[in-house]
């Protein structure tokens, strides 16, 4: 069965279960309220919802935030109900914006945030907890910071481990190369965690393919034009020795494809990552052999939803198991066989998600090395 089918089926089942669960949860909440079961951990009423992130010019963050907007719309509010805190890549701004908003809302706040870098997560979480507000984090936090150390106020953390999925796409690539020849890797910004993990994924896979040589790995900074130039330089250095290309993401793959086209090379095996719509089209045409979709729309929506529902008391985070507090986001593999199906169900219509199915598509508890 294809990855997509499995994913969708899993989704549907989970959704059904959780709808029931959610109905029960809301019912319980109403009952508790009518019975005047006082608020020991004072749940908030009608908290403000905010997303704090880098900026919207990047398609990835655009998707994340569109998920946050879809979530607030599901509450019957307008898009504008979501407050945007834009840090422009500055941790200091990220923290000071959060503090201002906490002061403004008097702690009546459900916050979804990527704190820009890992060390900034602790001061953000501490300020939020101190103000009695609720926060869910995405991507960045240090390994020693855990939601369960903050009672209910630090609701959850979601991240992705790209090593496993990148290894899987690497295997698809290495098989397509017939298990021999030379592969080059074009990576993201060298210090970025996903860039490191995606290269590691390739290296892990290569251990099982002794006849394939990793000719070179160079950073292409997630940038199409840079990737284009790096790939053409690779062609000078290695020429026909290159029989496969492993790209750290889709934008890099576009640049690689054009560098190959300039040389009249049409059938080079290439794999990439991210599942952008154009990459999915290219997978459908067989020009890219595989890419990985991490569903940023869902990730952005569910992070806001977790903070919000914890804030209004739909569930009590401290009663949830650890794998519901720190977990990996979803990964969906897209190969030429299922590209068309994927496009139909994820790109042509953005699925309407059940934003109370908090953990359905997630991918297990975060493991630390």
């Amino acid at each position: 069965m294809s990855f997509i089918k499995k994913f969708i089926e899993q989704e549907t089942i989970n959704r059904r279960n959780l709808l029931l669960g959610a109905a029960y949860g809301v019912g319980g909440l109403v009952a508790a309220k009518t019975l005047g079961a006082g608020s020991a951990q004072a749940a908030l009423t009608d908290p403000a919802v905010a997303w704090s992130y880098r900026n919207r010019t990047n398609p990835y963050w655009n998707e994340i935030v569109s998920g946050g907007e879809a979530f607030v719309e599901s509450l019957g509010k307008s898009k504008d109900f979501l407050t945007h805190l834009i840090n422009e890549g500055s941790s200091e701004k990220s923290l000071s914006d959060v503090k201002s908003l906490l002061a403004k809302t008097n702690g009546n706040l459900a916050l979804a945030i990527d704190t820009n870098d890992a060390p900034n997560a602790r001061p953000v979480v501490e300020s939020v907890a101190e103000a009695g507000a609720y926060v869910s984090t995405l991507w960045n936090k240090t390994d020693d910071l855990h939601p369960w150390d903050f009672g209910d106020n630090y609701v959850s953390h979601m991240s992705w481990s790209d090593e496993g999925p990148a290894e899987k796409t690497a295997r698809i690539l290495l098989d397509a190369m017939g298990g021999k020849g030379g592969v080059v890797h074009l990576g993201g910004i060298a210090s970025n965690n996903p860039a490191i993990e995606r290269l590691n994924g390739l290296k892990n896979a290569l251990k099982d393919y002794p006849d394939v040589e990793l000719l070179d790995a160079q950073p292409a900074d997630w940038d199409t034009q840079k990737a284009n130039q790096v790939m053409s330089s690779f062609l000078t250095r290695y020429g026909d020795e290159i029989t496969g290309v492993h790209c750290a993401n889709d934008t890099i793959a576009y640049g690689v494809l054009e560098a190959l086209r300039a040389e009249g090379i049409e059938d080079m095996p290439i794999v990439s990552y991210d599942g952008n719509p154009q990459a999915v089209d290219l997978v459908g045409q067989g020009k890219i052999l595989a890419t990985v979709f991490t569903n940023p729309h869902w990730g952005g929506g569910i992070t806001a939803a977790l903070a919000y529902h914890a804030a209004i008391g739909s569930f009590k985070p401290s009663e949830e198991p650890n794998e519901h507090r720190e977990f990996y986001g979803p990964t969906v593999f897209i190969t030429p066989d299922d590209a068309a199906e994927f496009k139909k169900s994820f790109i042509e219509n953005v699925p309407t998600y059940d934003w109370t199915d908090f953990w359905g598509p997630s991918n297990g508890q975060i493991m630390y090395k």
Binding site: T57, A190, D223, K226, S233, E258
Partner: protein, 321 residues
């Protein structure tokens, strides 16, 4: 003393010598660097950058600076792509009108840029930097963060069709280089750029409308940015907000490395050609000889400093700002 070896001659030819030394150095380390196919690759990566760098050369000769190229290139690329697709999506239809339209868009942005600088009396550094941000924001507004693909075979022949081993875009860039050279040496406007850069007060006192020259300079730069945008789209087949990324560093560096002085009045478009080639030879060469990625940025910075030291005549200025 031998006439061929005077200081002036040496300074004049230093950028070319730097380029030749670099090529020989990379060729010695990795013989595969020295092949026609690789020169074609360097040509492809240089062509859009050359257009942008020529644009800013005119501004720098005037002693001003223009940092709006990233925004301008993005807006021109996106505007071109949308019009091209709306008018038929292939060069063999009315869509070819998108080409001149992109140049007009570039000129208009340059005009606004120049007027903001001259009329509001904002230093060109700040005015153009701000215009660049406006441009990037506007391009984002147009695309909504998406990429626009240009698939038309005729337009993409800029990259895919080769004459004498070099793709058409290299010849287009060469043609525009000649046009720029013509403007620089054979028109009043071109000579006025040097007059303004060499001594603005003097130029003004001799009856030259300096403000008009400045505005025209920014417009002309905008047109060349637009040509750069078209070649950049031709190279990767995608127009997006990020199309303009990195052009600021590459173009300013190239102009300076080529021997055009940032204080104005010295240099020209052929210096810029050499400068662009130096920067791209370094970029290509470092990957070809296999320097690790994390060393490359540092080495590029060092080589740029060395190239500037060798190729500009610092004796002729009293102070550096």
């Amino acid at each position: 003393m031998n006439d061929l070896l005077t200081r002036d001659m040496l300074v004049k030819w230093a950028p070319l010598i730097v380029l030749i030394v670099l090529v020989l150095m990379f060729a010695l380390i990795e013989p595969r660097f020295f092949s026609v196919r690789n020169f074609a690759r360097i040509g492809i990566s240089s062509a859009p950058a050359l257009m942008v760098a020529i644009g800013v050369t005119f501004i720098i000769i005037m002693g001003s600076i223009d940092l709006s190229m990233e925004g301008t290139v993005s807006v021109c690329a996106v505007a071109f792509a949308f019009c091209f697709l709306a008018l038929g999506g292939t060069l063999w239809s009315a869509a070819w009108l998108a080409l001149p339209l992109a140049l007009v868009v570039g000129a208009v942005i340059g005009l606004i840029n120049g007027l903001v600088h001259v009329k509001l009396k904002i230093p060109s550094f700040m005015a153009s930097l701000a215009m660049g941000f406006v441009g990037t924001g506007f391009a984002l507004l147009l695309t909504g963060g998406d990429r626009v693909r240009i698939e038309d075979e005729a337009f993409r022949s800029l990259l895919t069709v080769r004459w004498f081993n070099f793709p058409i875009m290299c010849y287009v860039a060469l043609a525009f280089l000649l046009i720029a050279w013509f403007i620089q040496t054979r028109t009043t406007l071109g000579r006025n750029f040097y007059a303004v850069g060499g001594g603005e007060e003097l130029a003004h006192a001799s009856g030259l409308n300096v403000n008009r020259v400045r505005v025209l300079g920014f417009m002309l730069a905008g047109v060349f940015y637009a040509v750069g945008a078209l070649l950049a789209v031709g190279r990767i087949g995608i127009a997006e907000t990020a199309t303009g990324s990195n052009f600021m560093f590459v173009s300013i560096t190239s102009v300076v490395v080529g021997g055009t002085a940032l204080w104005g009045g010295i240099g020209g478009v052929f210096n810029t050609l050499i400068g662009v080639l130096i920067v791209n030879v370094i970029g290509n060469g470092m990957v070809v000889v296999g320097l690790p990625g994390y060393v490359q940025d540092g080495v590029l910075g060092l080589l740029v400093i060395i190239a500037v030291v060798l190729s500009t005549d610092r004796k002729s200025v009293d102070f550096v700002k």
